[in-house]
Protein backbone atom coordinates (compact mmCIF):
# COMPACT_ATOMS: atom_id res chain seq x y z
CA UNK A 1 0.00 0.00 0.00
CA UNK A 2 2.71 2.45 0.98
CA UNK A 3 4.64 1.61 -2.12
CA UNK A 4 1.50 2.04 -4.23
CA UNK A 5 0.83 5.41 -2.65
CA UNK A 6 4.45 6.45 -3.09
CA UNK A 7 4.32 5.29 -6.68
CA UNK A 8 1.24 7.40 -7.36
CA UNK A 9 2.52 10.48 -5.59
CA UNK A 10 5.76 10.35 -7.55
CA UNK A 11 3.80 9.71 -10.68
CA UNK A 12 1.56 12.65 -9.86
CA UNK A 13 4.53 14.94 -9.37
CA UNK A 14 6.00 13.89 -12.70
CA UNK A 15 2.71 14.41 -14.52
CA UNK A 16 2.30 17.65 -12.59
CA UNK A 17 5.72 18.86 -13.74
CA UNK A 18 4.54 18.16 -17.23
CA UNK A 19 1.30 20.13 -16.78
CA UNK A 20 3.43 22.97 -15.43
CA UNK A 21 5.51 23.12 -18.60
CA UNK A 22 2.39 23.38 -20.71
CA UNK A 23 0.44 25.66 -18.36
CA UNK A 24 3.29 28.16 -17.93
CA UNK A 25 3.36 28.70 -21.69
CA UNK A 26 -0.39 29.24 -21.76
CA UNK A 27 -0.15 31.49 -18.75
CA UNK A 28 2.57 33.68 -20.30
CA UNK A 29 0.41 34.26 -23.35
CA UNK A 30 -2.75 34.80 -21.33
CA UNK A 31 -1.10 37.33 -19.03
CA UNK A 32 0.46 39.54 -21.67
CA UNK A 33 -1.90 39.15 -24.61
CA UNK A 34 -5.17 38.30 -22.86
CA UNK A 35 -5.56 35.39 -25.26
CA UNK A 36 -6.57 31.88 -24.21
CA UNK A 37 -4.54 29.88 -26.65
CA UNK A 38 -6.73 26.92 -27.54
CA UNK A 39 -4.18 25.94 -30.17
CA UNK A 40 -1.55 25.31 -27.48
CA UNK A 41 -2.27 21.58 -27.63
CA UNK A 42 -1.92 21.75 -31.40
CA UNK A 43 1.53 23.31 -31.10
CA UNK A 44 2.47 20.61 -28.61
CA UNK A 45 1.54 17.91 -31.12
CA UNK A 46 3.47 19.62 -33.89
CA UNK A 47 6.52 19.84 -31.63
CA UNK A 48 6.34 16.12 -30.93
CA UNK A 49 5.93 15.12 -34.56
CA UNK A 50 8.69 17.45 -35.73
CA UNK A 51 11.02 15.73 -33.27
CA UNK A 52 9.88 12.37 -34.63
CA UNK A 53 10.74 13.47 -38.19
CA UNK A 54 14.07 15.03 -37.22
CA UNK A 55 15.31 12.28 -34.91
CA UNK A 56 16.72 9.95 -37.62
CA UNK A 57 18.93 12.81 -38.87
CA UNK A 58 20.02 14.68 -35.77
CA UNK A 59 19.38 12.16 -33.00
CA UNK A 60 17.32 12.48 -29.82
CA UNK A 61 19.32 15.32 -28.31
CA UNK A 62 19.31 17.36 -31.50
CA UNK A 63 15.57 16.87 -31.90
CA UNK A 64 14.96 17.83 -28.28
CA UNK A 65 16.50 21.24 -28.99
CA UNK A 66 15.55 21.81 -32.64
CA UNK A 67 11.88 20.75 -32.61
CA UNK A 68 10.77 23.29 -29.97
CA UNK A 69 12.63 26.05 -31.84
CA UNK A 70 10.90 25.20 -35.11
CA UNK A 71 7.56 25.07 -33.32
CA UNK A 72 8.26 28.49 -31.80
CA UNK A 73 9.01 29.88 -35.28
CA UNK A 74 5.65 28.57 -36.48
CA UNK A 75 4.09 30.12 -33.38
CA UNK A 76 5.63 33.52 -34.10
CA UNK A 77 4.31 33.38 -37.67
CA UNK A 78 0.81 32.47 -36.47
CA UNK A 79 0.89 35.28 -33.92
CA UNK A 80 2.10 37.86 -36.42
CA UNK A 81 -0.29 37.01 -39.24
CA UNK A 82 -3.41 35.85 -37.40
CA UNK A 83 -3.63 36.32 -33.67
CA UNK A 84 -2.24 39.87 -33.55
CA UNK A 85 -5.18 40.95 -35.72
CA UNK A 86 -7.65 40.28 -32.92
CA UNK A 87 -5.72 41.97 -30.09
CA UNK A 88 -7.87 44.60 -28.48
CA UNK A 89 -11.09 43.00 -29.67
CA UNK A 90 -13.46 41.05 -27.44
CA UNK A 91 -11.69 37.91 -26.07
CA UNK A 92 -14.42 35.95 -27.82
CA UNK A 93 -12.63 36.39 -31.14
CA UNK A 94 -9.20 35.20 -30.04
CA UNK A 95 -10.87 32.18 -28.44
CA UNK A 96 -12.71 31.27 -31.63
CA UNK A 97 -9.63 31.94 -33.74
CA UNK A 98 -7.32 29.70 -31.72
CA UNK A 99 -10.12 27.15 -31.45
CA UNK A 100 -10.26 26.98 -35.26
CA UNK A 101 -6.46 26.78 -35.41
CA UNK A 102 -6.55 23.83 -33.00
CA UNK A 103 -8.81 22.00 -35.47
CA UNK A 104 -6.50 22.84 -38.35
CA UNK A 105 -3.35 21.71 -36.50
CA UNK A 106 -4.88 18.43 -35.34
CA UNK A 107 -6.29 17.54 -38.73
CA UNK A 108 -3.14 18.80 -40.46
CA UNK A 109 -1.01 16.52 -38.29
CA UNK A 110 -3.29 13.64 -39.20
CA UNK A 111 -2.95 14.42 -42.92
CA UNK A 112 0.85 14.73 -42.83
CA UNK A 113 1.85 11.99 -40.38
CA UNK A 114 -1.22 9.73 -40.42
CA UNK A 115 -3.89 8.96 -37.84
CA UNK A 116 -1.98 5.99 -36.41
CA UNK A 117 0.15 6.60 -33.33
CA UNK A 118 3.92 6.84 -33.83
CA UNK A 119 6.63 5.67 -31.45
CA UNK A 120 9.29 8.20 -30.48
CA UNK A 121 12.46 6.43 -29.40
CA UNK A 122 14.46 7.70 -26.46
CA UNK A 123 18.09 6.83 -25.65
CA UNK A 124 18.32 3.34 -24.16
CA UNK A 125 19.99 4.42 -20.91
CA UNK A 126 17.04 6.71 -20.15
CA UNK A 127 14.45 4.01 -20.69
CA UNK A 128 15.68 1.75 -17.88
CA UNK A 129 14.21 1.64 -14.40
CA UNK A 130 16.63 2.93 -11.77
CA UNK A 131 16.27 -0.07 -9.45
CA UNK A 132 14.05 -3.05 -8.75
CA UNK A 133 12.62 -1.47 -5.62
CA UNK A 134 11.62 1.70 -7.40
CA UNK A 135 10.63 -0.02 -10.63
CA UNK A 136 8.39 2.87 -11.68
CA UNK A 137 11.19 5.44 -11.71
CA UNK A 138 12.67 5.17 -15.17
CA UNK A 139 15.56 7.42 -16.00
CA UNK A 140 13.37 9.16 -18.55
CA UNK A 141 10.84 10.24 -15.97
CA UNK A 142 13.55 11.78 -13.81
CA UNK A 143 15.03 13.32 -16.92
CA UNK A 144 11.67 14.93 -17.73
CA UNK A 145 11.42 16.42 -14.27
CA UNK A 146 15.03 17.67 -14.51
CA UNK A 147 14.33 19.33 -17.86
CA UNK A 148 11.19 20.99 -16.51
CA UNK A 149 13.07 22.22 -13.44
CA UNK A 150 15.91 23.58 -15.57
CA UNK A 151 13.55 25.32 -17.98
CA UNK A 152 11.52 26.82 -15.15
CA UNK A 153 14.65 28.11 -13.41
CA UNK A 154 15.85 29.65 -16.67
CA UNK A 155 12.47 31.20 -17.41
CA UNK A 156 12.03 32.70 -13.96
CA UNK A 157 15.56 34.15 -14.00
CA UNK A 158 14.89 35.52 -17.48
CA UNK A 159 11.74 37.24 -16.24
CA UNK A 160 13.44 38.46 -13.09
CA UNK A 161 16.81 39.68 -14.27
CA UNK A 162 16.75 40.57 -17.96
CA UNK A 163 15.39 43.81 -19.37
CA UNK A 164 12.97 42.02 -21.69
CA UNK A 165 11.78 39.77 -18.89
CA UNK A 166 11.05 42.75 -16.69
CA UNK A 167 9.15 44.39 -19.52
CA UNK A 168 7.05 41.27 -19.96
CA UNK A 169 6.16 41.26 -16.28
CA UNK A 170 5.43 44.98 -16.34
CA UNK A 171 3.22 44.47 -19.39
CA UNK A 172 1.24 41.86 -17.49
CA UNK A 173 0.44 44.43 -14.82
CA UNK A 174 -0.20 47.49 -16.96
CA UNK A 175 0.29 47.24 -20.69
CA UNK A 176 -0.79 50.82 -21.42
CA UNK A 177 1.86 52.34 -19.21
CA UNK A 178 4.50 50.06 -20.69
CA UNK A 179 3.47 51.16 -24.17
CA UNK A 180 3.47 54.78 -22.99
CA UNK A 181 7.07 54.43 -21.88
CA UNK A 182 8.02 53.82 -25.49
CA UNK A 183 8.39 50.07 -25.43
CA UNK A 184 7.36 48.23 -28.57
CA UNK A 185 4.49 46.23 -27.15
CA UNK A 186 3.80 44.45 -30.43
CA UNK A 187 7.27 42.98 -30.59
CA UNK A 188 7.14 42.15 -26.89
CA UNK A 189 3.92 40.19 -27.35
CA UNK A 190 5.30 38.34 -30.35
CA UNK A 191 8.45 37.35 -28.46
CA UNK A 192 6.42 36.32 -25.44
CA UNK A 193 4.13 34.23 -27.64
CA UNK A 194 7.18 32.56 -29.16
CA UNK A 195 8.51 31.67 -25.70
CA UNK A 196 5.14 30.18 -24.75
CA UNK A 197 5.01 28.11 -27.92
CA UNK A 198 8.61 26.95 -27.39
CA UNK A 199 7.48 25.48 -24.08
CA UNK A 200 4.52 23.82 -25.83
CA UNK A 201 6.86 22.29 -28.41
CA UNK A 202 9.20 21.06 -25.68
CA UNK A 203 6.24 19.49 -23.86
CA UNK A 204 5.38 17.70 -27.10
CA UNK A 205 8.85 16.19 -27.48
CA UNK A 206 8.97 15.09 -23.83
CA UNK A 207 5.44 13.67 -23.94
CA UNK A 208 6.24 11.81 -27.15
CA UNK A 209 9.10 9.99 -25.43
CA UNK A 210 6.86 8.87 -22.60
CA UNK A 211 3.52 8.18 -24.28
CA UNK A 212 4.25 7.95 -28.01
CA UNK A 213 2.76 10.37 -30.51
CA UNK A 214 -0.88 10.75 -31.51
CA UNK A 215 -2.63 13.62 -33.30
CA UNK A 216 -5.17 13.98 -30.47
CA UNK A 217 -2.68 14.04 -27.58
CA UNK A 218 -2.61 17.82 -27.33
CA UNK A 219 -6.32 18.30 -26.76
CA UNK A 220 -6.25 15.91 -23.80
CA UNK A 221 -3.40 17.78 -22.11
CA UNK A 222 -4.96 21.21 -22.60
CA UNK A 223 -7.70 20.98 -19.99
CA UNK A 224 -5.46 20.11 -17.00
CA UNK A 225 -3.32 23.12 -17.94
CA UNK A 226 -6.40 25.36 -17.77
CA UNK A 227 -7.22 23.96 -14.36
CA UNK A 228 -3.62 24.49 -13.21
CA UNK A 229 -3.85 28.17 -14.19
CA UNK A 230 -7.22 28.70 -12.50
CA UNK A 231 -6.19 26.91 -9.30
CA UNK A 232 -2.89 28.78 -9.13
CA UNK A 233 -4.51 32.11 -9.92
CA UNK A 234 -4.55 33.98 -13.22
CA UNK A 235 -1.70 36.44 -13.51
CA UNK A 236 0.71 34.53 -11.31
CA UNK A 237 3.30 32.29 -12.96
CA UNK A 238 4.39 30.94 -9.58
CA UNK A 239 0.77 30.08 -8.91
CA UNK A 240 0.56 28.17 -12.17
CA UNK A 241 3.63 26.20 -11.14
CA UNK A 242 2.12 25.24 -7.79
CA UNK A 243 -1.27 24.61 -9.39
CA UNK A 244 0.19 22.21 -11.94
CA UNK A 245 2.06 20.16 -9.32
CA UNK A 246 -0.96 20.18 -7.04
CA UNK A 247 -3.41 18.80 -9.59
CA UNK A 248 -0.84 16.24 -10.72
CA UNK A 249 -0.48 14.89 -7.18
CA UNK A 250 -4.23 15.11 -6.55
CA UNK A 251 -5.02 12.98 -9.57
CA UNK A 252 -2.16 10.59 -8.71
CA UNK A 253 -3.43 10.02 -5.18
CA UNK A 254 -7.04 9.67 -6.33
CA UNK A 255 -5.91 6.99 -8.75
CA UNK A 256 -5.05 4.82 -5.72
CA UNK A 257 -8.39 5.09 -3.97
CA UNK A 258 -10.92 5.75 -6.70
CA UNK A 259 -9.38 5.26 -10.16
CA UNK A 260 -12.52 6.23 -12.10
CA UNK A 261 -12.43 9.73 -10.63
CA UNK A 262 -8.75 10.43 -11.24
CA UNK A 263 -9.58 12.72 -14.16
CA UNK A 264 -12.58 14.42 -12.58
CA UNK A 265 -10.85 15.15 -9.26
CA UNK A 266 -8.87 18.09 -10.61
CA UNK A 267 -12.16 19.83 -11.43
CA UNK A 268 -13.42 19.20 -7.93
CA UNK A 269 -10.22 20.80 -6.65
CA UNK A 270 -10.87 23.75 -8.94
CA UNK A 271 -14.45 24.11 -7.66
CA UNK A 272 -13.22 24.11 -4.06
CA UNK A 273 -10.61 26.76 -4.81
CA UNK A 274 -13.16 28.94 -6.61
CA UNK A 275 -15.55 28.59 -3.71
CA UNK A 276 -13.07 29.50 -0.99
CA UNK A 277 -10.73 31.78 -2.88
CA UNK A 278 -12.21 32.90 -6.22
CA UNK A 279 -9.01 34.61 -7.39
CA UNK A 280 -7.04 31.34 -7.17
CA UNK A 281 -4.31 30.41 -4.70
CA UNK A 282 -1.80 33.07 -5.71
CA UNK A 283 -3.94 35.34 -7.86
CA UNK A 284 -4.13 39.02 -7.07
CA UNK A 285 -7.52 40.62 -6.66
CA UNK A 286 -8.41 42.76 -9.64
CA UNK A 287 -6.14 40.94 -12.10
CA UNK A 288 -7.88 40.10 -15.36
CA UNK A 289 -11.23 39.60 -13.73
Amino acid sequence: MTQLLLFNITNGLIIGAFYVLMAIGLSLILNLSNVINFAHGGFLVIGGYLAYTLEPYIGFWGALIAAPFLTAILGVAVERFLISRVYGRDPLYSLLLTFGLAFIFEEGTRMIWGAQGKPFTIPAFLAQPLSNELFFLTGYRLFMVAVVALVMATLFSFLRFTRIGIRIRAGTLDLETVAGLGINVRALRTLNFGVGIFLAGLSGVLAGGQLGLEPTMGAGLLMPSFVAIIVGGVGSLGGTLVGGLLIGVASGVTAVFFPAASEAVIYVLMAVVLLIRPRGLFGEEGMLT
Binding site: L92, L96, M223, L275, L288
Partner: protein, 318 residues
Protein backbone atom coordinates in the same frame (compact mmCIF):
# COMPACT_ATOMS: atom_id res chain seq x y z
CA UNK B 1 -46.35 51.74 -37.95
CA UNK B 2 -43.08 52.94 -39.43
CA UNK B 3 -41.54 51.43 -42.54
CA UNK B 4 -38.78 49.89 -40.42
CA UNK B 5 -41.27 48.12 -38.15
CA UNK B 6 -43.29 46.92 -41.13
CA UNK B 7 -40.18 45.46 -42.72
CA UNK B 8 -39.25 43.70 -39.50
CA UNK B 9 -42.71 42.20 -39.21
CA UNK B 10 -42.58 41.02 -42.82
CA UNK B 11 -39.20 39.33 -42.24
CA UNK B 12 -40.46 37.53 -39.13
CA UNK B 13 -43.62 36.41 -40.93
CA UNK B 14 -41.48 35.09 -43.80
CA UNK B 15 -39.22 33.26 -41.32
CA UNK B 16 -42.12 31.49 -39.63
CA UNK B 17 -43.71 30.67 -42.99
CA UNK B 18 -40.43 29.12 -44.11
CA UNK B 19 -40.18 27.08 -40.88
CA UNK B 20 -43.80 25.91 -41.01
CA UNK B 21 -43.60 24.94 -44.67
CA UNK B 22 -40.10 23.39 -44.37
CA UNK B 23 -41.22 19.75 -44.87
CA UNK B 24 -42.73 20.88 -48.21
CA UNK B 25 -39.86 22.91 -49.66
CA UNK B 26 -36.84 21.19 -48.13
CA UNK B 27 -36.89 18.09 -50.39
CA UNK B 28 -36.96 20.44 -53.42
CA UNK B 29 -33.55 21.92 -52.51
CA UNK B 30 -32.02 18.55 -51.66
CA UNK B 31 -32.66 18.60 -47.90
CA UNK B 32 -34.58 16.10 -45.80
CA UNK B 33 -36.93 16.54 -42.87
CA UNK B 34 -34.57 15.07 -40.28
CA UNK B 35 -31.92 17.64 -41.26
CA UNK B 36 -34.50 20.37 -40.69
CA UNK B 37 -35.29 18.98 -37.24
CA UNK B 38 -31.59 18.94 -36.34
CA UNK B 39 -31.13 22.53 -37.49
CA UNK B 40 -34.06 23.64 -35.33
CA UNK B 41 -32.67 21.97 -32.22
CA UNK B 42 -29.07 23.13 -32.72
CA UNK B 43 -30.40 26.58 -33.63
CA UNK B 44 -32.30 26.71 -30.36
CA UNK B 45 -29.09 25.72 -28.54
CA UNK B 46 -27.16 28.47 -30.32
CA UNK B 47 -29.89 30.97 -29.42
CA UNK B 48 -29.60 29.89 -25.77
CA UNK B 49 -25.83 30.51 -25.86
CA UNK B 50 -26.51 33.87 -27.45
CA UNK B 51 -29.06 34.74 -24.77
CA UNK B 52 -26.00 35.01 -22.53
CA UNK B 53 -23.32 36.02 -25.03
CA UNK B 54 -25.21 38.47 -27.22
CA UNK B 55 -27.56 40.02 -24.68
CA UNK B 56 -25.62 39.94 -21.41
CA UNK B 57 -22.17 40.10 -22.98
CA UNK B 58 -20.87 37.14 -20.99
CA UNK B 59 -18.94 34.45 -22.84
CA UNK B 60 -19.61 30.88 -21.75
CA UNK B 61 -17.48 28.40 -23.64
CA UNK B 62 -18.80 25.38 -21.78
CA UNK B 63 -22.48 25.46 -22.58
CA UNK B 64 -22.39 22.08 -24.31
CA UNK B 65 -22.30 20.58 -20.79
CA UNK B 66 -25.86 21.75 -20.08
CA UNK B 67 -26.94 20.70 -23.55
CA UNK B 68 -25.47 17.22 -23.04
CA UNK B 69 -26.89 16.91 -19.52
CA UNK B 70 -30.32 17.67 -20.97
CA UNK B 71 -29.82 14.89 -23.50
CA UNK B 72 -28.69 12.39 -20.84
CA UNK B 73 -31.51 13.38 -18.46
CA UNK B 74 -34.09 12.82 -21.15
CA UNK B 75 -32.51 9.56 -22.34
CA UNK B 76 -32.07 8.11 -18.85
CA UNK B 77 -35.69 8.78 -17.97
CA UNK B 78 -36.94 7.16 -21.17
CA UNK B 79 -34.64 4.19 -20.70
CA UNK B 80 -35.05 3.47 -17.00
CA UNK B 81 -38.07 5.28 -15.55
CA UNK B 82 -41.02 6.04 -17.75
CA UNK B 83 -41.99 5.81 -21.41
CA UNK B 84 -43.12 9.37 -21.86
CA UNK B 85 -41.70 12.02 -24.18
CA UNK B 86 -42.91 15.07 -22.19
CA UNK B 87 -41.57 13.64 -18.94
CA UNK B 88 -38.24 12.96 -20.66
CA UNK B 89 -38.01 16.57 -21.79
CA UNK B 90 -38.92 17.75 -18.31
CA UNK B 91 -36.27 15.52 -16.69
CA UNK B 92 -33.56 16.65 -19.10
CA UNK B 93 -34.41 20.33 -18.75
CA UNK B 94 -34.42 20.14 -14.95
CA UNK B 95 -31.17 18.15 -14.75
CA UNK B 96 -29.17 20.50 -16.97
CA UNK B 97 -30.83 23.68 -15.72
CA UNK B 98 -30.47 22.98 -12.01
CA UNK B 99 -26.86 21.79 -12.22
CA UNK B 100 -26.07 24.77 -14.44
CA UNK B 101 -27.62 27.12 -11.93
CA UNK B 102 -25.69 25.59 -9.03
CA UNK B 103 -22.30 25.74 -10.73
CA UNK B 104 -23.23 29.10 -12.20
CA UNK B 105 -23.19 30.55 -8.69
CA UNK B 106 -19.47 29.71 -8.57
CA UNK B 107 -18.75 30.77 -12.12
CA UNK B 108 -20.29 34.25 -12.08
CA UNK B 109 -17.71 35.43 -9.60
CA UNK B 110 -15.29 35.76 -12.50
CA UNK B 111 -15.42 37.87 -15.66
CA UNK B 112 -13.94 38.08 -19.14
CA UNK B 113 -11.36 35.55 -20.27
CA UNK B 114 -11.31 34.00 -16.83
CA UNK B 115 -15.07 33.40 -16.96
CA UNK B 116 -14.66 31.61 -20.29
CA UNK B 117 -11.88 29.42 -18.88
CA UNK B 118 -13.85 28.42 -15.82
CA UNK B 119 -16.92 27.55 -17.89
CA UNK B 120 -14.84 25.36 -20.21
CA UNK B 121 -13.19 23.54 -17.32
CA UNK B 122 -16.44 22.91 -15.44
CA UNK B 123 -18.10 21.74 -18.62
CA UNK B 124 -15.42 19.08 -18.98
CA UNK B 125 -16.34 17.58 -15.59
CA UNK B 126 -19.61 16.32 -17.00
CA UNK B 127 -17.87 15.05 -20.10
CA UNK B 128 -15.60 12.89 -17.94
CA UNK B 129 -18.50 11.71 -15.78
CA UNK B 130 -20.53 10.67 -18.84
CA UNK B 131 -17.42 9.05 -20.27
CA UNK B 132 -16.37 7.15 -17.12
CA UNK B 133 -19.65 6.12 -15.54
CA UNK B 134 -20.33 3.54 -18.22
CA UNK B 135 -22.68 1.35 -16.16
CA UNK B 136 -25.20 4.19 -16.22
CA UNK B 137 -24.34 6.20 -19.32
CA UNK B 138 -22.89 3.60 -21.66
CA UNK B 139 -19.55 5.42 -21.60
CA UNK B 140 -17.88 6.07 -24.92
CA UNK B 141 -20.53 4.10 -26.84
CA UNK B 142 -23.23 6.46 -25.71
CA UNK B 143 -26.61 5.93 -24.07
CA UNK B 144 -28.97 3.54 -25.85
CA UNK B 145 -31.41 2.02 -26.49
CA UNK B 146 -34.24 4.46 -25.85
CA UNK B 147 -36.91 5.83 -28.17
CA UNK B 148 -39.09 8.90 -28.20
CA UNK B 149 -42.66 7.92 -27.44
CA UNK B 150 -45.90 8.76 -29.25
CA UNK B 151 -47.71 11.75 -27.77
CA UNK B 152 -51.02 11.01 -26.07
CA UNK B 153 -53.16 14.12 -26.08
CA UNK B 154 -56.32 12.57 -24.62
CA UNK B 155 -58.42 12.91 -27.75
CA UNK B 156 -55.77 11.64 -30.16
CA UNK B 157 -52.31 10.09 -30.36
CA UNK B 158 -49.52 11.53 -32.50
CA UNK B 159 -46.87 9.05 -33.56
CA UNK B 160 -43.73 11.19 -33.54
CA UNK B 161 -41.47 8.12 -33.59
CA UNK B 162 -42.34 6.76 -37.02
CA UNK B 163 -43.67 9.89 -38.69
CA UNK B 164 -40.73 12.25 -39.20
CA UNK B 165 -42.92 15.11 -40.41
CA UNK B 166 -45.05 14.90 -37.26
CA UNK B 167 -41.83 14.93 -35.20
CA UNK B 168 -40.61 18.00 -37.07
CA UNK B 169 -43.79 19.85 -36.12
CA UNK B 170 -43.49 18.70 -32.53
CA UNK B 171 -39.93 20.11 -32.39
CA UNK B 172 -41.07 23.30 -34.13
CA UNK B 173 -43.79 23.66 -31.50
CA UNK B 174 -41.21 23.30 -28.70
CA UNK B 175 -38.85 25.66 -30.51
CA UNK B 176 -41.59 28.29 -30.85
CA UNK B 177 -42.40 28.01 -27.16
CA UNK B 178 -38.78 28.43 -26.09
CA UNK B 179 -38.16 31.28 -28.55
CA UNK B 180 -41.29 33.08 -27.30
CA UNK B 181 -40.14 32.69 -23.70
CA UNK B 182 -36.70 34.06 -24.59
CA UNK B 183 -38.16 37.03 -26.47
CA UNK B 184 -40.53 37.71 -23.57
CA UNK B 185 -37.66 37.74 -21.05
CA UNK B 186 -35.56 40.00 -23.25
CA UNK B 187 -38.41 42.51 -23.50
CA UNK B 188 -39.05 42.53 -19.77
CA UNK B 189 -37.33 45.01 -17.44
CA UNK B 190 -34.97 42.17 -16.51
CA UNK B 191 -33.98 41.72 -20.16
CA UNK B 192 -33.35 45.45 -20.52
CA UNK B 193 -31.10 45.26 -17.47
CA UNK B 194 -29.15 42.43 -19.09
CA UNK B 195 -28.51 44.65 -22.10
CA UNK B 196 -27.50 47.52 -19.81
CA UNK B 197 -24.89 45.23 -18.22
CA UNK B 198 -23.62 44.23 -21.66
CA UNK B 199 -23.28 47.85 -22.76
CA UNK B 200 -21.52 49.17 -19.67
CA UNK B 201 -21.11 47.01 -16.63
CA UNK B 202 -19.54 49.70 -14.47
CA UNK B 203 -22.32 52.19 -15.17
CA UNK B 204 -24.95 49.54 -14.44
CA UNK B 205 -23.22 48.82 -11.13
CA UNK B 206 -23.26 52.51 -10.22
CA UNK B 207 -26.99 52.58 -10.92
CA UNK B 208 -27.34 50.10 -8.08
CA UNK B 209 -28.02 47.01 -10.18
CA UNK B 210 -26.77 43.85 -8.47
CA UNK B 211 -24.60 42.68 -11.37
CA UNK B 212 -23.60 39.23 -10.07
CA UNK B 213 -27.21 38.32 -9.31
CA UNK B 214 -28.39 39.41 -12.75
CA UNK B 215 -25.63 37.53 -14.54
CA UNK B 216 -26.33 34.46 -12.44
CA UNK B 217 -30.05 34.56 -13.29
CA UNK B 218 -29.28 35.08 -16.99
CA UNK B 219 -26.75 32.23 -16.86
CA UNK B 220 -29.24 29.91 -15.17
CA UNK B 221 -32.06 30.75 -17.59
CA UNK B 222 -29.70 30.12 -20.47
CA UNK B 223 -28.77 26.74 -18.94
CA UNK B 224 -32.44 25.78 -18.76
CA UNK B 225 -32.97 26.72 -22.41
CA UNK B 226 -29.82 24.83 -23.32
CA UNK B 227 -30.90 21.70 -21.44
CA UNK B 228 -34.33 21.92 -23.09
CA UNK B 229 -32.62 21.93 -26.50
CA UNK B 230 -30.42 19.04 -25.34
CA UNK B 231 -33.47 16.97 -24.35
CA UNK B 232 -34.93 17.52 -27.81
CA UNK B 233 -31.60 16.50 -29.33
CA UNK B 234 -31.74 13.17 -27.48
CA UNK B 235 -35.19 12.64 -29.01
CA UNK B 236 -33.91 13.54 -32.48
CA UNK B 237 -31.22 10.85 -32.38
CA UNK B 238 -32.75 8.40 -29.88
CA UNK B 239 -29.21 8.51 -28.54
CA UNK B 240 -27.02 10.56 -26.20
CA UNK B 241 -23.24 10.56 -26.34
CA UNK B 242 -20.40 12.12 -24.34
CA UNK B 243 -19.18 14.16 -27.30
CA UNK B 244 -22.35 16.24 -26.93
CA UNK B 245 -20.86 17.56 -23.66
CA UNK B 246 -17.36 18.23 -24.92
CA UNK B 247 -15.98 21.76 -25.16
CA UNK B 248 -15.56 21.42 -28.90
CA UNK B 249 -19.36 21.18 -29.09
CA UNK B 250 -19.54 24.40 -27.07
CA UNK B 251 -17.23 25.98 -29.62
CA UNK B 252 -19.60 24.96 -32.41
CA UNK B 253 -22.53 26.62 -30.64
CA UNK B 254 -20.61 29.84 -30.05
CA UNK B 255 -19.54 29.75 -33.69
CA UNK B 256 -23.14 29.41 -34.87
CA UNK B 257 -24.11 32.43 -32.78
CA UNK B 258 -21.19 34.52 -34.04
CA UNK B 259 -21.53 33.42 -37.66
CA UNK B 260 -25.23 34.28 -37.78
CA UNK B 261 -24.86 37.53 -35.88
CA UNK B 262 -24.94 37.75 -32.11
CA UNK B 263 -26.62 41.11 -31.81
CA UNK B 264 -29.70 39.76 -33.55
CA UNK B 265 -32.29 37.52 -31.90
CA UNK B 266 -32.55 35.24 -34.95
CA UNK B 267 -28.88 35.39 -35.93
CA UNK B 268 -27.86 32.14 -34.19
CA UNK B 269 -30.64 30.25 -36.03
CA UNK B 270 -29.25 31.46 -39.35
CA UNK B 271 -25.76 30.51 -38.15
CA UNK B 272 -27.00 27.02 -37.25
CA UNK B 273 -28.55 26.59 -40.71
CA UNK B 274 -25.29 27.53 -42.45
CA UNK B 275 -23.10 25.55 -40.04
CA UNK B 276 -25.12 22.33 -40.08
CA UNK B 277 -25.62 22.34 -43.84
CA UNK B 278 -21.92 23.06 -44.44
CA UNK B 279 -20.81 20.37 -41.99
CA UNK B 280 -23.22 17.88 -43.52
CA UNK B 281 -21.94 18.68 -47.01
CA UNK B 282 -18.19 18.85 -46.26
CA UNK B 283 -18.18 15.66 -44.18
CA UNK B 284 -19.87 13.85 -47.08
CA UNK B 285 -17.10 14.75 -49.55
CA UNK B 286 -13.91 14.48 -47.45
CA UNK B 287 -12.77 12.70 -44.31
CA UNK B 288 -10.59 15.68 -43.40
CA UNK B 289 -13.66 17.87 -42.88
CA UNK B 290 -12.32 19.13 -39.54
CA UNK B 291 -9.70 21.22 -41.27
CA UNK B 292 -12.40 23.03 -43.25
CA UNK B 293 -14.42 23.71 -40.13
CA UNK B 294 -11.24 25.13 -38.57
CA UNK B 295 -10.70 27.32 -41.62
CA UNK B 296 -14.30 28.50 -41.37
CA UNK B 297 -13.64 29.62 -37.77
CA UNK B 298 -10.53 31.55 -38.80
CA UNK B 299 -12.22 33.20 -41.78
CA UNK B 300 -15.33 34.24 -39.84
CA UNK B 301 -13.23 35.75 -37.04
CA UNK B 302 -10.97 37.67 -39.42
CA UNK B 303 -13.47 38.80 -42.05
CA UNK B 304 -17.04 38.54 -40.68
CA UNK B 305 -16.76 39.23 -36.95
CA UNK B 306 -20.30 40.64 -36.88
CA UNK B 307 -21.74 37.59 -38.56
CA UNK B 308 -23.92 37.34 -41.64
CA UNK B 309 -26.73 39.54 -40.36
CA UNK B 310 -24.29 42.16 -39.08
CA UNK B 311 -22.56 42.14 -42.44
CA UNK B 312 -25.85 42.63 -44.32
CA UNK B 313 -26.89 45.48 -42.02
CA UNK B 314 -23.54 47.19 -42.47
CA UNK B 315 -23.75 46.94 -46.25
CA UNK B 316 -27.27 48.36 -46.28
CA UNK B 317 -26.26 51.31 -44.15
CA UNK B 318 -23.21 52.07 -46.25
Amino acid sequence: MSAEQGRKLAIIAALWAALILAPLWMPLVGGYTALGTRVLVLGLAAMSVNFLLGFTGVLSFGHAAWFGLGAYGCGLLLKFVALSTPLGILAGTLLGGILGGLLGALIVRRRGVYFAMVTIAFGQVFYYIAFQWSSLTGGDDGLRPFYRQPLHLGFTTIDILQNSTAFYYFVLFCFAGAAAAMAFILRSPFGRTMIAIRENERRARFLGIPIELHIWIAFTLSCFFMAFAGSLYALVNNFADPRGLHYSQSGDFVMMAVMGGMRNFWGPLLGAVVFVVLQDYVSSITINWQIYIGLLFVLVVLFFPRGLLGFIQQRRRA
